[in-house]
């Protein structure tokens, strides 16, 4: 069946779980995954909790990057998705920094499919530690939804809300983050997506990205983010049940951030 691909900018609020202090100045290359079709993109890491509503395969993936080529700013993220009847569970773990200064987080997510709408919730625990200054932690909630308007167009909504938002008891407070996004499957090979992110007390950021697949085996991606005027590019390939991607982000002043992703995808049993 031939699919018609239409782009549709949907205003949905996509809230990503980020604390202000660990907010990345760079666009995450896979942040737009939330609006893609997991069925069409095997090996894709789920982007937000609502995307778990559509998963059909077990998948586990690890993403790592070394920001601006500095080991002290390494960042690692592990995601796991487990399909269940009518939806899926997910695990999201993040570590960034080094032994002297690091932030970490752990999230548990559930997504449910309700017809054309997938909705999800994710509960996160964040911790920030600095040698000599102690540590601070807080809990946050992500609520999201993804609507499949038609075969080509998806729109997503996510809100990140810090439940007890103080990172310490005096000044800092974790920010509410809202992201608006859409995904447009131009063809079986070509996917485009964009999102608007609004972090509390910070200007609006726009992130747009493209992905092209060659015979569903080899992938190329390209994106740009307005807040930091940075762009990224990368490529990946499918090897049996694994997908391996290599990416690079370029910040105009801080330099290159190389990254790598490995995802294991257990195909659905017939």
């Amino acid at each position: 069946m031939k699919h018609l691909f239409l782009s549709c900018l949907l205003c949905s609020i996509d809230f990503l779980a980020r604390s202000q202090v660990s907010l990345s100045p760079m666009a995450h290359p896979y942040a737009l995954n939330a609006y893609g079709s997991i069925q069409k993109e095997p090996g894709l890491l789920w982007g937000q909790a609502a995307a778990l509503g559509a998963i059909q395969n077990f998948s586990a993936g690890l993403y790592g990057e070394q920001r601006f080529m500095l080991r002290e700013l390494s960042r690692y993220q592990f995601k796991l998705a487990l399909p269940v009847t009518g939806g899926g569970f997910g695990l999201d773990a993040l570590y960034s920094g080094n032994s002297s200064f690091h932030s970490s987080g752990l999230g548990l997510a559930y997504g449910k499919k309700m017809g054309k709408l997938d909705a999800g919730l994710q509960f996160n625990y964040h911790r920030l530690a600095t040698t000599g200054y102690g540590s601070a932690s807080y809990v946050s909630v992500d609520a999201g939804a993804i609507l499949q308007v038609n075969d080509q167009f998806r729109t997503g909504l996510q809100i990140h809300y810090p439940a007890n938002g103080s990172l310490n008891k005096s000044i800092e407070r974790a920010a509410i983050i809202y992201t608006t996004g859409f995904g447009y499957q131009v063809s079986d090979k070509f996917f485009a997506a964009a999102e608007i992110r609004k972090t509390e007390n910070l200007p609006v950021q726009v992130h747009a990205g493209l992905q092209y697949s060659f015979d569903q085996k080899v992938f190329a991606l390209l994106g740009i983010e307005s807040g930091s005027s940075s762009f990224y590019f990368g490529g990946g390939f499918l090897l049996d049940r694994f997908r391996i991607d290599v990416t690079a982000s370029l910040h105009p002043y801080l330099g290159i951030t190389p990254g790598m992703m490995i995802v294991f995808n257990q195909p659905q049993k017939q």
Binding site: C8, C11, I13, L117, V149, N150, F153, T180, E200
Partner: protein
């Protein structure tokens, strides 16, 4: 039949909360709130009309021009074409046939479908006794802001004398569009109830009796009513919506005489009015006498310097100006309606028991002053094929002119164009006019407006308008003649009946005084740009979602502010007895200048369009319970939570803390 039911079903579902105005109208109301800064309007005539149309759809096979005009979405061009179509080809067999009527595109048909029917001709000659079989209801509404404001602190010399509850009572009877009567009582928060200045209970009462086609009367109004003349250059009391994405909506259209059934306390007439018809000539005469409130000043001459329109009489100061001025108004309209042609003459006289004279400021040099004002006008409209032209030329008592002329053209089945030119002399004086102008009154303005709508397919629509205005004389907060412009582009996409989305960009530049403390305070450019994306999705018969993101940029001589607003709203209808909706909204702006307005669902016959500024979250929940057919309950809870604020509001409305919560409940009984 199945297809019809499917269409009807989907349209009904897409209007689950159809007491809400259509999306386009919500935009218009938001723009109106921006210019008038009125967040919580009491005038619910529009909502009552929409609800009435839903319950009692207009029969497109018997309705005349005046009845079609009750549907706000329709333009005169579309009304004229359906009347001609019916005249040539006879009654429409079904609503499907509307697609064959010129200039009735699918989008328009979808929007008006809940308000129309295609029945057989009815016997229109109904006796008065048969009209007593109509519907009647009683409605009670109460609302309260939970946080106590400074105005209720009795240590304050100007504290509010009443309690914090806002109450409204309405009794209404209606038989089709032939007979209406009813009573409304309204009390604002802070006003007394059955004591003090409000010893008779509510602070405001309104009674109306209105009948159509009653003996020699084409229409008859006793009590409270509204008058709408021409294009609003001399007198217009219905809600007048301004520039918006419905670019063809440049013409004021409403019946000349309408009953007033709202709880708004100012913009109506009180007395008697009657309409007559002899052949193709219709005429309306009206007389009104009521008391209005004003700011009185007594030095060399007792006069009032402004009319108090808020309806608030909460403390001694506000009560002092209450109903101090007797206002008498009378006038007439006569018009001839022919084949596509309508020509009319209008006149209105306003008299005050105390002279009206604004405070002596440079910008009020040409404002109305004195005890009496007279305005007259000639208006016309004519439809030729796919062009509809209209206009009005008005004069005040000193023969200062105001002219407005416009056209709506369907140059192609997929392209509509609208034009409007206005030339309003700086010394033209009018009191209750409301035309399609940049200013609130049709004075001191020249401008040209152009709009275009393109429908490349049934799913897509592109709309745009450009408006250029100039103001020959000073205005409030503008100390020099200036120019302004206003542009808008909007893309709408509706791939299916369950989903629609629009993206809108608007830019306005309206000069305003720079610095009130400066020795020479001259106007500087003030730019306001906004980008909005709004979507609505009907998931199934029970669930619908709506979402919006809006960005705003404000710039006044380098003083920049940015605004952001985003919300998601869910609608749920579990059964015929239960409905609910919930909105969660985040906003962040640099200040009041970059405020963002967003229309909010409310209880039946009510709506609010709050200004969202500073930073915070706002949410509300509406519940509607219908235990049985004749009774309904509504409950609304709303709360705004501001970050980094310790006080909200100012003056007597100041609240300590960072939250403002409101509870509203309503009861309706039909008998």
């Amino acid at each position: 039949m199945n297809r019809f039911l499917a269409i009807l079903f989907s349209l009904v579902c897409s209007h689950l909360f159809a007491q809400e105005p259509p999306v386009q109208m919500q935009q218009q109301l938001e723009d109106l709130a921006l210019t008038s800064e009125l967040e919580d309007p009491e005038d619910d005539q529009l909502l009552q009309l929409l609800e009435q149309l839903k319950k009692d759809p207009i029969n497109i096979n018997t309705a005349g021009e005046e009845q079609f005009r009750q549907i706000p979405i329709l333009t005169d061009l579309q009304i004229d074409h359906i009347l001609r179509y019916r005249k040539i080809l006879g009654n429409l067999l079904s609503i499907y046939e509307l697609q064959a009527v010129p200039h009735w595109d699918l989008r328009t048909i979808r929007m008006v479908l809940p308000n129309i029917s295609a029945g057989s001709s009815e016997n229109l000659k109904e006796s008065f006794l048969s009209r007593l079989k109509g519907d009647q209801y009683i409605l009670l509404r109460m609302s309260r802001v939970l946080e106590r404001s400074k105005g209720y602190d009795t240590a304050n010399s100007q504290h509010y004398l009443g309690d914090r509850n806002r109450l409204m009572f309405r009794y209404r009877y209606q038989y089709k569009d032939l007979l209406y009567f009813g009573l409304v009582g309204d009390k604002d928060a802070g006003e007394q109830f059955f004591r003090g200045a409000q010893a008779k209970g509510f602070d405001f009462y309104s009674f109306h009796f209105f009948a159509r086609r009653l003996g020699i009367f084409r229409s008859l109004a006793l009590g409270d009513y509204t008058i709408n003349l021409g294009q609003g250059l001399i007198h217009w009391q219905s809600m007048g919506l301004g520039k918006n994405s419905e670019v063809m909506g440049v013409k004021r259209q409403a019946p000349v005489l309408m009953p007033y059934r709202s709880s708004g306390e100012f913009n109506f007439n009180r007395g008697v009015a009657a309409g007559f018809q002899v052949g193709r000539v219709e005429s309306t005469v009206f007389f009104s006498h009521k008391k209005i409130s004003g700011n009185l000043e007594t030095d060399s001459l007792e006069r009032f310097t402004s009319m108090l329109t808020s309806g608030y009489y909460r403390n001694e100061l506000e009560i002092a100006g209450r109903n101090r001025v007797a206002h008498t108004s009378y006038g007439a309209n006569i018009h001839y309606t022919g084949a596509g042609l309508r020509v009319g003459m209008n006149m209105v006289v306003n008299r005050f028991s105390i002279p009206f004279q604004k405070r002596a400021e440079p910008y009020t040099r040409y404002a109305f002053s004195g005890n009496q004002g007279f305005n007259s006008s000639v208006d016309f409209s004519y439809t030729y094929n796919y062009i509809h032209v209209f206009g009005e030329a008005a004069f005040d008592g000193d023969l200062n002119p105001a002219v407005l002329a416009g056209a709506m053209m369907s140059v192609h089945p997929k392209v509509d164009i609208s034009l409007l030119y206005r030339h309003l002399a700086k010394d033209y004086r009018v009191l209750f006019g409301s035309a399609f102008t940049e200013g609130s009154l049709p004075v001191n303005e020249k401008g040209i407006y152009t709009g275009i709508t393109i429908r490349p397919s049934d799913s897509w629509q592109f709309s745009a308008f450009a408006d250029q205005s100039s103001f020959p004389w000073l205005k409030y907060r503008v100390n020099a003649p200036t120019r302004s412009h206003d542009y808008l582009v909007q893309w709408s996409y509706r791939p299916n009946k369950q989903f629609d989305i629009y993206a809108r960009y608007r830019q306005e530049n309206k000069p305003i005084n720079d610095d009130p403390l400066a020795v020479i305070n001259h106007p500087v450019p003030k730019s306001r740009q906004s980008l909005r994306v709004h979507a609505h999705s009907q998931l199934n018969a029970e669930l619908a979602f709506r979402s919006r993101v809006e960005l705003l940029w404000y710039d006044r001589k380098g003083n920049k502010e940015e605004g952001f607003l985003a919300y998601i709203e869910g609608f749920y209808q579990g059964s015929q007895k239960w409905k609910a909706n919930l909105r969660l909204q985040f906003f962040e702006t640099g200040g009041y200048n970059s405020r963002v307005y967003a229309y909010e669902s409310d209880v039946l016959y009510s709506f609010s369009i709050p200004a969202n500024f500073d930073s915070g979250l706002r949410y509300y929940c509406n519940l509607n319970w219908k235990p049985y057919k004749k009774m309904q309950f509504w409950l609304r809870w709303s709360q705004s939570v501001y970050t980094n604020k310790k006080e909200l509001g100012s003056g007597l409305d100041q609240i300590s803390g960072n939250r403002r919560s409101e509870l509203k409940c309503q009861w309706l009984y039909i008998f």
